[in-house]
Structure formats: structure tokens, C-alpha cells
Subunit: 191 residues, 2 copies
């Protein structure tokens, strides 16, 4: 059993061709089916312009456009708490570029924090194959400092210090709620 475990532990799940989104969806399905949490990815908002209604078959959307979401991609409920997060990846090996986030996502997380929600981002350094959970409050500090000449990215060393590293697992593939537990159970938890 031990051999099997260490064999699996060496499998590089992140390299199997699943996107970060697919990996998180699979993890959320695991959490849902095991009664651990209810977290869903929100559908992409679409502006529909033209719809055909063929007789005897389903309506077909014939002209539509992708819209920018006004919120983050994921939210749900865990241990009685509202969770809200965004997931992003970078090819950089040295820093996480802030341009991966949009002003409205930052603003949405600020609003949710104000209501007592637990807000964070899951960031992946794709080339390094390293995954972190960074709290929205920490992200916000870097975001705000941009306006006063601060750097446009978060150095990997800072991420290593501030964020919780998440290691790929079997079930769930991305056990990010373990990192959320650390936030929720922290003594001075302001989330």
C-alpha cells in the first residue's frame, strides 16, 4: 500500500492535459459528492442577439457574444461560510503578473470580504508546476500598490511567504479546502 501511495504521489497530475479550470471542477465534484462543500464554477456570461426556434427541436442561438463577468468564477458554501475565488495561471517562473486579474474581480472580492466572505485566488505557476492559495487581502495589497508605482507582479518569493502551497493529490485533485481550513481556523481570522 505504501508503494502504491508513493507511486501515486509522484504522478504529475498537473501535466495530464487538464486545464486548471478542469482540475478545479473535478475537485469541486469530489467535494460535492462527498458532502464536503458546495462550490460551482459560474457559467460564462453570454450576450444573446439572435435565436432560432426550429419547430420540433431545441432553440438554437445563432448570434451571441462573450461578455466580461462581473464577479469571480467560483463561489459556494463550506462549513457555513461563503467562499469566493478566482483561478489563474502564469508561464512566468519568477513572479505572478497582476494583469491576470481584472479590476471588477478585485472589487467583487472586496465587497464579499466586507460581508464576511472568505475570498482568495488559486494561482498556478505552470512551468514550475506549483500551485498556491493566496488570500484576497494579500492580493489587494499588491493590487493597490500598483497605483502608487508599485510593481505589476507578485514575486515568487513573496507568494511562497504569503500564500499556502497546494500539492496535487488524487481525490480531490486539488485539495484547496485544506488551505481554506488554515484561513478559517487561524486565531486572528479576519479572512
Amino acid at each position: 500500500a505504501k508503494a502504491t501511495r508513493s507511486k501515486f504521489a509522484n504522478v504529475n497530475f498537473g501535466d495530464r492535459g487538464m486545464s486548471l479550470e478542469e482540475e478545479l471542477n473535478a475537485s469541486n465534484t469530489y467535494y460535492l459528492e462527498n458532502g464536503i462543500a458546495v462550490i460551482h464554477k459560474k457559467p460564462t456570461p453570454i450576450q444573446i442577439v439572435k435565436v432560432d426556434y426550429p419547430s420540433r427541436s431545441a432553440a438554437v442561438i445563432r448570434e451571441a457574444y462573450f461578455q466580461h463577468a462581473s464577479t469571480t468564477d467560483y463561489n459556494g458554501v463550506y462549513r457555513g461560510k461563503y467562499l469566493d475565488f478566482e483561478a489563474k495561471e502564469t508561464k512566468s517562473k519568477t513572479a505572478f503578473p497582476l494583469k491576470n486579474f481584472h479590476e471588477h474581480q478585485i472589487e467583487h472580492m472586496r465587497q464579499c470580504l466586507q460581508q464576511g466572505g472568505i475570498c482568495f485566488v488559486i494561482i498556478r505557476f505552470a512551468v514550475l508546476e506549483r500551485l498556491f492559495l493566496l488570500r484576497a487581502t494579500d492580493l489587494n495589497s499588491y493590487w493597490d500598490r500598483q497605483a502608487t508605482g508599485g510593481r505589476k507582479s507578485i514575486p515568487l518569493a513573496d507568494v511562497e511567504q504569503l500564500a499556502t502551497e497546494i500539492h496535487y493529490h488524487i481525490n480531490p485533485l486539488i485539495p484547496y479546502l485544506d488551505a481554506v481550513d488554515l484561513i478559517m481556523d487561524a486565531p486572528s481570522s479576519s479572512h
Copy 2:
């Protein structure tokens, strides 16, 4: 001021041609802009089949289909709590038909309740112009009884007894969080 107030109180906002969804969206915008709660309607999920990428202009979706949502339409965070709800209306004057809800919505609310979320439905009797907030736990009782020969709708008299009536207001148009406060502040609050 008093005259103005009673004048406004008599305005029938529900009859102004806004759908229940539009009225709730307007109410959620009010709650958001006033820092009271962060509640959004989820986009309708769409299965995209064909996308054109014209040069120099935005991608155009040329073939897509409406999908059934796997969750309810609305969720968010209020007073530190996760809120989750669905909104439906009926033309019936005597009872609210259960066929307005889908099995997966009921199941989703059950899952959220298990995690400590606050789950409910906002139901409108369109002809009567009456609006109620009914807790998911109460809805579930009627839902489950269908399987053992129970009726396929909730009589208005039962709704009047179990649910909290919501009266149209100016800002927000539908002050449903007042009814949520009653749930949250109830002494034996199991939501």
C-alpha cells in the same frame, strides 16, 4: 412627507412591466451599491458549438444551445452567511405549483443547507400581486410528499402561514433581505 410616503406605498411596482428577475436584479444592485449584501444572478449556462473569429472584431458565437442550470439562479453573501435562492412565479390564484421547481434545484438547496447556507425561494402569485419568501426546508417537505401521493402544489393558505410575505418597496424594490433577517435572527435558527 407622510403623504408622499403613502402615495408611493400605493404604487404597484410589480405591474410596471419588469419581470420578477429584473426586479430582483434591481434589488440586488441596490443592496450591492449600499454595501448591504453581495448577491448576483448566475448567467444562464450555454453549450457553445461553433464560434467564428472574424479578424479585427470580437468572436461571434454562431451555434449554441441553452443548458439546464445545475444550481439555483441566485447566490451570494450577507451578514457573513451564504445565501442561495431561486425565484419563480405562477398565474394560479390558489396554489403554487411544484412543477415550477426542478429536482436539481431542490437537490442543490439541500446540499447548501447541509453546509449551513440559508436557502429559500421567492415566489410570486402574479395575478394576486403577492410575493413571498419560503424557506427551502418548508419547500422540501411539500416536494418530498409528492412522491407518496401528496399534492403537486402548495396551497396559498399554507404559503400564507409558512412563508414571509414581502411587500414592494421603493429602494430596494423587493426588500427580501428583511425576510432573510427573520430567518437568521430566529431563536432556533436551523435555516
